[in-house]
Structures are given as structure tokens and as C-alpha cells.
Amino acid sequence: MATRIDLAQLRELLDKGAQLVEVLPAAEYTEEHLPGAINLPLKQLDPSTAAQLDPARPVIVYCWDSL
């Protein structure tokens, strides 16, 4: 199960080279996203799209909020 992190932990991981992934639909990503994040919408998350990610580095996913 993925580790739940807060903002401070997010920053630490990014400093260590983690990959940041917004899983919201593309339109929401286009409007606004965290600096450096790539967009892998949940509905399109499969082996081919996930191939953009480096499995050797941490991956942080986020959406709008916890709801």
C-alpha cells in the first residue's frame, strides 16, 4: 500500500528526485498543476502510459484533495 505523505514529506521527496504525477483529467492539469508534475490521468493509467516513469525513483501521485 502506498505511503500517505503530507506537504513537508512531499518537499523532501522532491528534493531527493521523486517524480510527481497529477492523476486528474488532462483539462484540470492544463489549468493548473504543481511545478514539474506530469499528467497521467487515472483513467489512462496503464503499462504504456506508466512507462514514462522511472521505476527506480520514488513516484508521488496527487489529485485535487483527499475526498
Binding site: 500500500m1 502506498a2 505511503t3 500517505r4 505523505i5 503530507d6 506537504l7 514529506q9 512531499l10 521527496l13 521523486a18 504525477v21 497529477e22 492523476v23 486528474l24 492539469y29 492544463t30 489549468e31 493548473e32 498543476h33 504543481l34 511545478p35 514539474g36 508534475a37 497521467l40 487515472l42 493509467l45 496503464d46 503499462p47 506508466a50 516513469l53 521505476p55 525513483r57 520514488p58 513516484v59 508521488i60 501521485v61 496527487y62 489529485c63 485535487w64 484533495d65 483527499s66
Partner: protein
């Protein structure tokens, strides 16, 4: 949505997966920078003043009042050691019992706004309530600073 995405990535073989559960809403509310088309919309964070006078709960009012007198503000914000906003000392409170502790006379739990609040909407809210200042905190209640209506109106192009 992000827990499902995290689970999916783990099923795809990723072993170091983290879920920033508070998400984009939390990042924005902390006034942090973003990328994208929406970043051109002015927000509270764009006119945030971080130099508001703060006070510890146990500080004597007289000491705080002296600090306020040397500032461009007419109030002080009472914060805990971790930055959590506890209350506000208005001018009348600062002029009263100088020996009282800040926490004894402060107005507890003042209203706050988030740093990602659109400026036009916030300026209108202040105008309609005849307020000059809004206090900005994180979603966890930690003080970020204050925004002033005059700054907002200047930023928005001198709208009344």
C-alpha cells in the same frame, strides 16, 4: 482518486509509491507556485504581506503595542510556537491594559482566507463588509500573512 492511482502503479510494479493525499488544494492553499493556464488569475498569495506584527500568547500587551506602533499596521496577530493563528489584538485591545497577556485580551479565532482565493472575489468580499484586511492561513491554521484591500485593488487595476 490518488489512492486508486497509487494502487494501480503498485500493481504495475512500482515499489516506491507515495500519495500526497491533501493534493493540489493543499498546495494552492499554502500559496505555493504552480504551472498552467490558470496561474494568470491573481490570487491572495500575489499580494500577501508577510510582515504583519505577531505576538506570543504570553507577551504583555504593552510590549506588543510598542511593536505595532513601529509598524504600518494597527493590529497584531497572536500565534502559537508552531505558527498556528490563535487570535487578533485590535487597536482598542492594544490601548487597554498594558500589563495583560495577549491571550487574555485577544479576539480569539478571527476569520481567515486561503492563499489561493481569487483576488477579485476576495476584494469584493472585503468591500462588501467594509474590511481593509484579511488574514491568510494554511488549511492547518498556520499564519502566512495578511492581504490588504488597497493592495488588491491596485493589483486588479484600480477598480473601486
Amino acid at each position: 482518486m490518488s489512492p486508486r492511482a497509487a494502487c494501480r502503479l503498485e500493481l504495475l510494479g512500482f515499489t516506491q509509491v507515495y500519495d500526497y493525499v491533501a493534493g493540489k488544494a493543499d498546495w494552492l492553499a499554502h500559496g505555493l507556485p504552480t504551472e498552467g493556464e490558470q496561474t494568470q488569475v491573481p490570487r491572495a498569495k500575489d499580494v500577501l504581506r508577510r510582515d504583519a506584527v505577531t505576538a506570543r500568547p504570553e507577551e504583555p500587551v504593552g510590549v506588543v503595542a510598542a511593536r505595532v506602533a513601529r509598524s504600518p499596521y494597527g493590529f497584531a496577530l497572536v500565534v502559537a510556537n508552531d505558527g498556528t493563528l490563535l487570535g487578533r489584538l485590535r487597536k482598542a485591545m492594544l490601548d487597554a491594559d498594558q500589563a495583560a497577556r495577549a491571550e487574555q485580551v485577544m479576539e480569539a479565532g478571527p476569520s481567515t482566507v486561503r492563499a489561493d482565493r481569487p483576488l477579485a472575489e476576495l476584494a469584493e468580499r472585503l468591500r462588501s463588509r467594509r474590511l481593509r484586511t484579511a488574514i491568510v492561513t494554511t488549511p492547518q491554521g498556520r499564519l502566512l500573512g495578511v492581504v490588504q484591500r488597497a493592495d488588491m485593488e491596485a493589483r486588479l487595476g484600480g477598480q473601486p
